[in-house]
Symmetry: C2
Subunit: 432 residues, 2 copies
Amino acid sequence: MAFKVGLLGLGTVGTGTVEILRDPAQRHPLLQDIVIHKVGVRSIDKPRIVPAELLTTDLESIVSDPEIDIVIEVMGGLEPARSLMLKAIANKKHVVTANKAAIARFGDEIFTAASKAGVYVLLEAAVGGGIPVIEPIKKSLCANRINAVTGIVNGTTNYILTRMQLEGGDFTEILSDAQKLGYAEADPTADVDGMDAADKIAILASLAFGGRIKLPEVYCEGIRNVSAIEIVYAEKLGFVIKLLAIAKRKSSDELEVRVHPTLVPKSHPLASVNDVYNAILIEGDPIGQVMFFGRGAGAGPTASAVVADVLNIAALLKVERATQQSEPPTLDPLLACSHQHYCTIAPMKDLSTRFYARFLTRDDPGVIGKLGTCFGNHEVSLESVVQVGIRDGAAEIVVVTHQVQEGNFREALNQIEQMNAIEKVASVLRVL
Amino acid sequence: MAFKVGLLGLGTVGTGTVEILRDPAQRHPLLQDIVIHKVGVRSIDKPRIVPAELLTTDLESIVSDPEIDIVIEVMGGLEPARSLMLKAIANKKHVVTANKAAIARFGDEIFTAASKAGVYVLLEAAVGGGIPVIEPIKKSLCANRINAVTGIVNGTTNYILTRMQLEGGDFTEILSDAQKLGYAEADPTADVDGMDAADKIAILASLAFGGRIKLPEVYCEGIRNVSAIEIVYAEKLGFVIKLLAIAKRKSSDELEVRVHPTLVPKSHPLASVNDVYNAILIEGDPIGQVMFFGRGAGAGPTASAVVADVLNIAALLKVERATQQSEPPTLDPLLACSHQHYCTIAPMKDLSTRFYARFLTRDDPGVIGKLGTCFGNHEVSLESVVQVGIRDGAAEIVVVTHQVQEGNFREALNQIEQMNAIEKVASVLRVL
């Protein structure tokens, strides 16, 4: 029984996908049933790893080809990826995509169309490269009430932070070196400003909590302001700094969904996830903590996830074809998207978290008392206040709080900034 | 659409399973379709968390009840678990089991019967408690050619080794303390002698390499001979000692499958998996390394895996019932067992590995030369030979080899044991 696939795009991930499909030995036998029917590319003049007769620049012809069962979208970008996926769905084709940006923004439209058409849209490759995390959330963890998903889901920023940690270097110089080495893109904005991680945590939150997520409601803070000094102080306090993407059940009807650099205790399982590696820690009832770890990017790992999705669909089609078809087809309720409502995301001011803050102040014996009093007036309870030294003629004071309301902390901070004794609020970071 | 389940057993895992099934809020909506129809127990007199009218001591009546769709075997042990599962299968019931011992021994018989009857036998809970690893191997990693599975899959031994590492205590005293604390059973044999880990790696190898495994061919060495001294020397050399369960593709038609204490480099992802935690590292082409980490035992995590399997089957039944039934039913080829042949497991003498060995010798200047020459004569290349001190009046020498053939190393060791200068081969361990 053959299943015909059409690829949109033949870049890094598309090429990796074709390589697996054409080399089935010692992989699952179902791979032998998958046939590459058409491949859509921008230019047919370049030498390619697929025979020229499979290539076309007419992408519309792929999503409307009646022979094709599954469309693999690995072109990336928002448009025409979105429109092509919607057309494929309208033509009753199942879709496999690696496109986190398009799914995080247009997931509502795409999954509503897919439910209506009775087709699957699978996206394992969109988060964590090849690391199985989406399928495990959907299937292996489906008996759990998931309480939190905490991930290091962006390899570029994790590489930069790991090098800053090990070498003591500064953000800008390590970023530029990472760009030379190919670990960061020429335009690093989506990575270093946290938008890529925000796309991914929006997708994970949606799956883990069974509701849709409005991307603009995801709080997003990147790593540009993490300085070498903060890494040194965090280290002394027993932490490493990681860009975490966090989705948490705040109450029965409200979530926290956020991306920001975070001080992580060294004993925490995420603290030792270094370099370009990704890891996603899921906390559920009754499973407790479970973590998935691996390379979060690269042609091979990403293609591994794309082909797994293709085989998952083929397996279900195999069952369906062996029985009589029903119209519209019934979908596997664990794999299909079953929710249509939007999750309520709590505003950041309601967040309960610990904070790290570094102040430059006048070298004045009363200043610690003034800081403490001001925080106390705003119900911000402090774990430690330490004058760590003198920098640029100012006394340097590091504060770590207990769990506090972010809104209260910010109000205290506003007042502190007005104080004559305070020269600068040099850094504010959250603590896990 | 309701799916009726019958439980065999209501111990720790059975109770955990019932607790999830009766509390579906904020878990997957499909849970609401699962109905507990009967529960088989040894005695109906004890107070139980299910109504008395569901209880029966007649386990046969459960596996033959025409109303029941899925039998959940959480009684453990070899018999009558095996016979009951086979009868359930013969009666066309799907089976979910947490029974690694029965599956590792009777998997052949059970899966052959299941293929014939067209039913699923799912066993996520058999390895790693709630950690998703079996479903990810079957589904999320199905596009990969898996090259190795390396796991810390026994919580009791990992707890003991972790405490030996941290406290410097000896095996026997920590084992007895672990028994008091409930981390080790009264009869700890299956855990400390590696048999539990051998059952689990046999199951993982079978799934990862698509062939059956004969359990007696799995090499199995426990941790009784790991002494506090070895842990200290391993630490000095940059290693921790872990009980690893390893399955590796040796060639296109031969596997290595083995359990033994192993020196693991501190930088390796498995080195920091401590206490009762489990982790399974999978290496595949093209995914590279991917690791799954979590609690490997306990009522909650194990029940999480059992109920996930139940929901996976219910999801497929939902699709099947919505379409017309075919006879025999077609199974999802990724979830069903599709292989019938046995894998060839290479003998340990053909294993290529590094070794650590500690010798007590006469304090004689020529002894290092003699050791080196003897190893050299057997093509055993050494990485280091260090006289670490004097113990009990004998010179203590620690040897670490490069990758060598185990057979060659053992032959050299036999000759060394005969030498006059050698008082004792105090320890031999493999190195990752």
